[in-house]
């Protein structure tokens, strides 16, 4: 009974479920009225609105949930799109992306995923053109293939050869796609991430709403490739924590004292991996008032049924079950304890191109305290959180939340007399961070710009 009641409020879980399990007409029936009355080509509008609304109302709020929702949405949008013209696809994805970003500009992963999908389409279009070029070299009589020269983003002055060269270089230097396919998938990750299955690469053909098979012409069908690519992104989102955790043993040593903050699942996975082999002590700051309940649950191991967090994590054993000493402290004690800490490991909300990060409120205090004590600060974050945004005005990146978490709304006198601010995030400047660990390995903050340029095409940085 309680579980059904919870399903009442629309959220990521219900959205994904509806996308996954149902044919397109009814898939978001529970979120959207009369979708079935509209033709499939309008579907994406409806779905976009839905996701935008969920984002606005903060019914989807963890970075990964946002990223997953965006990826699934784009998967749908592209498969519902009847065109095979790359330029049109790009346009459509851009328009969807703009709406999503407008709905929640501070949720940068949404923009990141959109940029990556755009990059995918552009790559495929260019690969295609290369192939076509080669083909037309071989047989001059290839009449039916208009080249995608109307793609506004492709610089016309460059000759095709250099384009091809660039494209091949790019594809070889795009590790996320490569790594997600090449990383050996462990039994654990197979078991723990059953949800992306239905949309794994290969299945998009059957998922296609129009029921059309996606093979139109040998050269023209960018879509199938792009859908595969999005499938890989979704895969990556599912595996990212495990991939990051694989580096844990390089960074956590026996008998160290580690300080962490918030209930980030990435950090937990990282520590758990190390805990399998080594004994160390964890000091956990509770991140009151916005995340303390989740943190308490993480520490004690009885996480309540927060549906937003993918269900596998809630079955995760807490660190204490592996014999690790975990000390839960109030945020105010961070500085006092910092002198004894060997390493600070932080999760984050998003990472910016300059190496700074936007993370849960309280992170900056910890990072500063660590700096004072010369304690190394390690940030674990999936590459999908890495955003090409440069924080010229970092104030604007900070979201302010519900004031009643700080002062109860029932205290009428206080509510009337004072302004209460409850920032949800902190901006942590790059110089306070010593190392980033992503699913691609460890990087210095100053190196992040390079990863940014590997992942996003510069045409898409402001789409």
């Amino acid at each position: 009974m309680p579980s059904t009641a919870l399903a009442l409020t629309p959220g990521l879980a219900s959205f994904l479920k509806s996308l996954k399990t149902n044919p397109i007409d009814t898939s978001i029936d529970n979120l959207i009225s009369c979708a079935s009355k509209y033709l499939p080509q309008y579907f994406f509008e409806i779905a976009t609105d839905t996701v935008a609304r969920l984002l606005k109302r903060r019914q989807i709020r963890h970075s990964r949930s946002c990223a997953t929702a965006t990826a699934y949405l784009l998967l749908r949008v592209i498969s519902a799109c009847r065109t095979t013209d790359a330029a049109k696809l790009i346009e459509r994805v851009q328009s969807v992306g703009r709406r999503l970003v407008a709905a929640q500009p501070r949720e940068m992963v949404v923009g990141n995923i959109v940029r990556r999908v755009l990059g995918l389409i552009r790559d495929e279009a260019e690969d295609d053109r290369d192939a076509e070029f080669a083909l037309s070299e071989a047989s001059e009589s290839q009449p039916q293939t208009p080249r995608v020269t109307d793609d506004p983003s492709v610089p016309h002055e460059r000759d095709t050869l250099s384009l091809r060269h660039e494209a091949s270089e790019r594809s070889s230097s795009r590790p996320p796609v490569a790594s997600s396919t090449t990383t050996p998938i462990s039994m654990f990750s197979l078991l723990s991430h059953p949800e992306p299955e239905p949309s794994l690469p290969g299945s998009p053909v059957s998922v296609s709403p129009s029921g059309r098979v996606l093979s139109h012409g040998p050269n023209k069908d960018v879509r199938a490739e792009v859908l595969d690519g999005i499938g890989e992104i979704i895969d990556e989102l599912g595996q990212v924590d495990d991939q990051i955790a694989a580096y844990a043993l390089d960074h956590i040593h026996s008998n160290e004292i580690i300080l962490t903050h918030t209930s980030s699942t990435t950090v937990q996975r990282f520590l758990l991996k190390a805990a399998a082999k080594r004994k160390f002590t964890v000091i956990h700051a509770e991140s009151y008032p916005n995340n303390h309940e989740a943190t308490h649950a993480t520490v004690s191991g009885n996480s309540g049924g927060d549906e937003e967090i993918l269900s596998t994590e809630s079955f995760q054993k807490p660190l204490i079950a592996l014999g690790i000493t975990v000390i839960l402290i109030p945020d105010s004690a961070v500085f006092a304890l910092m002198s004894r800490v060997n390493k600070v490991i932080l999760g984050t909300h998003s990472v910016l191109a300059n190496g700074g990060l936007v993370a849960a409120a309280g992170t900056r205090v910890i990072a500063r305290a660590a700096k004072v004590h010369q304690t190394p600060v390690v940030v674990v974050s999936g590459v999908y959180k890495l955003s090409p945004v440069y924080p010229f005005d970092f104030e604007s990146l900070i979201e302010y939340g519900d004031a009643s978490k700080v002062v109860g709304y029932d205290d009428g006198d206080l509510v009337d007399q004072i302004d209460v601010q409850n920032p949800l995030y902190d901006y942590v400047p790059a110089e306070l961070v010593d190392l980033y660990i992503t699913n691609l390995g460890g990087h210095a903050p100053s190196y992040l710009y390079r990863i940014v340029s590997d992942h996003y095409r510069k045409e898409d940085i402001s789409f």
């Binding site: 009974m1 979120l31 959207i32 009369c34 509008e45 779905a47 519900d402 205290d411 302004d419």
Partner: protein, 728 residues
């Protein structure tokens, strides 16, 4: 769609196999204190099928109150902007968040505007979270009417949420809903759950003039007693709790600290209870109180769900408007904040110090924009102007050296140089000249123009548009200055009948004692009987001051008319009338008024249907002779005040009617023939000065002259009249 195996043997319910889908419904009422509803059909509970789809319905109604006058003169209250977003948007957000899928809206005043707005809004679009958004038209004048109307329409199939159209809340409803369902499964008599927000003793969103007091059994969350304490009256500051309640419960909470936003989760039984009690109008003072009182009788229980966090408030008067605006700007209602941009096209961004600014705002270099400010697109602010605690709409022009503090300025307002506006509300399109002072509590309604150098003193309300009754009012130069437009608006205090909430409104905006936003509320709509078809605008000498009285007349007339139309037998009609009279403790005069108004309406109806006047009159009166007979008690006395009263009422009712004089003649004749009214009464009536007080009255009785003359000589000639009538 999801698994749908309906356990065959477990299947209960009457409509076997038909109602598979669970629906969450909601009702939103606009101008009264509203109920809105969410529900899932009951089958869901019983057959244990797990459904992921929560369907919902809600009904919206408008709040039948005039607390926002003069702004509500030509706009429904739920479209008034709160932090530059219409109130209704917040309500819809709340419903969408709650997972409601079907919404029924009841509009009050200006429901056409509301309907138009909603049709153009995103809630009608393909991506609307509501499967169904139905605008129900009705003549409802109160929550009670809406509920009865809903019951009659049979649209509610399961549990539903009733809310008013001015609720602002970010709370998830599922906890309350789950608790409600669990209770209901255990006990069918648990018909309603009220969702209440805990708050301290003093709170800005609470009404200052009355406090609701809930007596709750905390072990079962059952509400045992409800009363409202009026802070203005000296007597009522005590509670009357029955002995039984205290004796039979080991634990009792008596709570005055709850914010009641009228969010109720109801089962369909609630509707039938409303229908059974035709005199209930208000959801709390009457319905809740009544059901709790009759617990012994019908065994229904009402429960409370008290939330300790999340935000919930109702914009019930201007004071609450001020408080809720502050809450939204202060992010207490997060994520319902200006920078969430609820409306498509809004581009608010949060800056430091709770400053929300849309794109395209022009700020002079030397102006000072302080904390807690919302500025809409296209607004420009001049040099050395200071703005704080203020909401500015779109396309406003604020001059130089202006001081704005605590002002609510809607769209397209022009404020001249050197003007000060403190804690006032300025509506769309107002022009305020240079060097004016708008003092706290002043309200400037749509289109008002204030000339240079004027001072609008505390609590003044200036309007420019004609008031509801259509009298154009000339510009009042004293109020707005030479060249201004507008007149000072006074509320018709005398029409006000203070019902439960009305004096809440005298909770003065900004606590300013001189303002009275008192309102005519729920039970006081002045035109009840006009629903029945006749205007009572000049009613019989005797007053229509008592709201309750009017309600009785209204309700009784409606019910009688229904009876007549369906040709129910006279005893049934009579029985119903008596029961209504007893319940409302109505006077004989009121009963007669109800009878006359319904009978006349039926006669007119029949005539329109093609019957002759004589036939129609005979038809109605002969069949229901008994009903009329039982409302007059002066047969044996010399003076016939009751019969005269009846005749007067008939005359009056017919006065504005087309062919009223003919009907009057036939009615007089019919009454005589049925021996309902005696000769003496006719004489007295004819002599009564009230029967010829106005031209209209004189005109309508013109034709009856012959009948009265004839009566005078009745003994001699009897048959002549008969013939004459046939000629007609």
């Amino acid at each position: 769609m999801g698994p749908k195996q309906k356990g065959g043997p477990k299947q209960k319910g009457n409509n076997v196999g038909e109602e598979v889908e669970e629906t969450l419904q909601a009702v939103v009422c606009f101008p009264f204190s509203l109920p809105l509803s969410i529900s899932r059909p009951a089958g869901w509970l019983w057959d244990g099928v797990k459904r992921t789809v929560a369907n919902a319905r809600k009904v919206l109604a408008d709040t039948f109150e005039t607390r926002f006058e003069p702004f509500t003169l030509d706009r429904p209250r739920c479209l008034l902007p709160l932090a530059n977003t219409p109130l209704i948007e917040y309500t819809f957000e709340f419903l969408a968040n709650a997972g409601v899928e079907e919404v029924f809206l009841y509009g009050g005043a200006h429901s056409d505007q509301l309907e138009k707005y909603i049709n153009g809004s995103k809630w009608r679009g393909p991506s609307s979270p509501f499967k169904q958004l139905t605008f129900l038209k009705s003549t409802s004048t109160s929550v009670g009417d809406v509920m009865r109307d809903l019951d009659g329409k049979h649209v509610i199939t399961g549990d539903f949420i009733a809310v008013s159209g001015d609720v602002i809340s970010n709370m998830p409803i599922e906890g309350a809903l789950a608790a409600h369902r669990a209770r209901r499964q255990a006990d069918k008599n648990a018909i309603m759950t009220m969702v209440l927000r805990e708050a301290g003793r003093n709170h800005r969103t609470k009404s200052t003039s009355f406090s609701p007091v809930f007596v709750v059994d905390p072990t079962k969350d059952r509400c045992l007693h409800y009363e409202e304490i009026d802070h203005h009256s000296e007597q009522s500051s005590r509670l009357n709790i029955e002995n039984d309640i205290i004796l039979s419960h080991s634990e009792l909470d008596i709570r005055q600290d709850l914010i009641d936003c009228n969010i109720d989760i109801c089962t369909p039984d609630v509707l039938s209870l409303w229908s059974d009690s035709f005199d209930y109008q208000a959801p709390r003072t009457q319905f809740l109180f009544g059901v709790l009182k009759d617990y012994e009788l019908n065994g229904k229980t009402i429960h409370t769900h008290i939330i300790k966090d999340q935000y919930a408030a109702r914009v019930r008067n201007l004071k609450a408007y001020d408080a809720v605006s502050k809450d939204i700007i202060g992010r207490w209602a997060y994520p319902l904040c200006p920078d969430t941009n609820l409306l498509p096209g809004h581009t608010y961004e949060l800056r430091k110090g709770n400053l929300y600014q849309e794109q395209g705002v022009t700020l002079a270099r030397s102006c000072e924009v302080g904390r807690r400010v919302v500025i809409g697109q296209g607004t420009s602010i001049g040099d050395r102007t200071t703005v704080k605690n203020t909401v500015l709409g779109r396309n406003c022009k604020i001059g130089k050296n202006v001081s704005l503090d605590g002002a609510y300025i809607w769209d397209n307002v022009v404020i001249g140089d050197g003007t000060r506006v403190h804690r006032a509300i300025i509506a769309d399109g107002v022009v305020v000249g240079n060097d004016c002072r708008v003092e706290p509590g002043a309200l400037l309604s749509y289109g008002v123009k204030i000339a240079n150098g004027m001072t609008i003193s505390e609590g003044k309300r200036i309007a420019a548009l004609p008031r509801g009754d259509g009298d154009a009012v000339a510009t009042d130069v004293a109020a707005v200055g030479e060249g201004g437009v507008g007149y000072e608006f006074f509320h018709h205090e005398d029409e006000d009948e203070s019902d439960d909430e009305s004096d809440a409104s005298s909770g003065l905006v900004y606590n300013m004692a001189k303002l009275s936003f008192s309102t005519e509320s729920i039970s006081t709509l002045s035109s009840e009987v006009s629903d029945i078809g006749f205007s009572r605008s000049e009613s019989v000498g005797d007053s229509e001051s008592e709201g309750e009285e009017d309600n009785f007349v209204h309700d009784a007339a409606v019910s009688l008319y229904d009876g007549l139309r369906e040709r129910v037998s006279a005893d049934v009609v009579q029985l119903e009338l008596v029961s209504m009279r007893m319940t409302a403790n109505a006077s004989d005069h009121q009963v007669r008024r109800a009878i006359v108004s319904s009978f006349m309406k039926q006669i007119v109806q029949l005539m329109e249907g093609g019957k002759g006047a004589g036939e129609a009159v005979r038809d109605v009166f002969s069949k229901y002779r008994e009903v009329v007979d039982r409302c007059m008690f002066d047969r044996d006395s010399d003076k016939k005040p009751d019969q005269v009263d009846l005749l007067l009422l008939i005359q009056q009712e017919l006065a504005p009617q087309n062919r009223g004089d003919t009907v009057l003649l036939f009615t007089a004749k019919e009454l005589y023939e049925l021996e309902l009214v005696e000769e003496e009464a006719y004489e007295q009536w004819w002599a009564d000065e009230r029967s010829s007080s106005t031209d209209e009255m004189k005109k309508v009785r013109g034709q009856t002259q012959q009948f009265v003359d004839w009566l005078a000589n009745a003994e001699e000639e009897e048959s002549s009249e008969e013939e004459e009538s046939e000629e007609e």
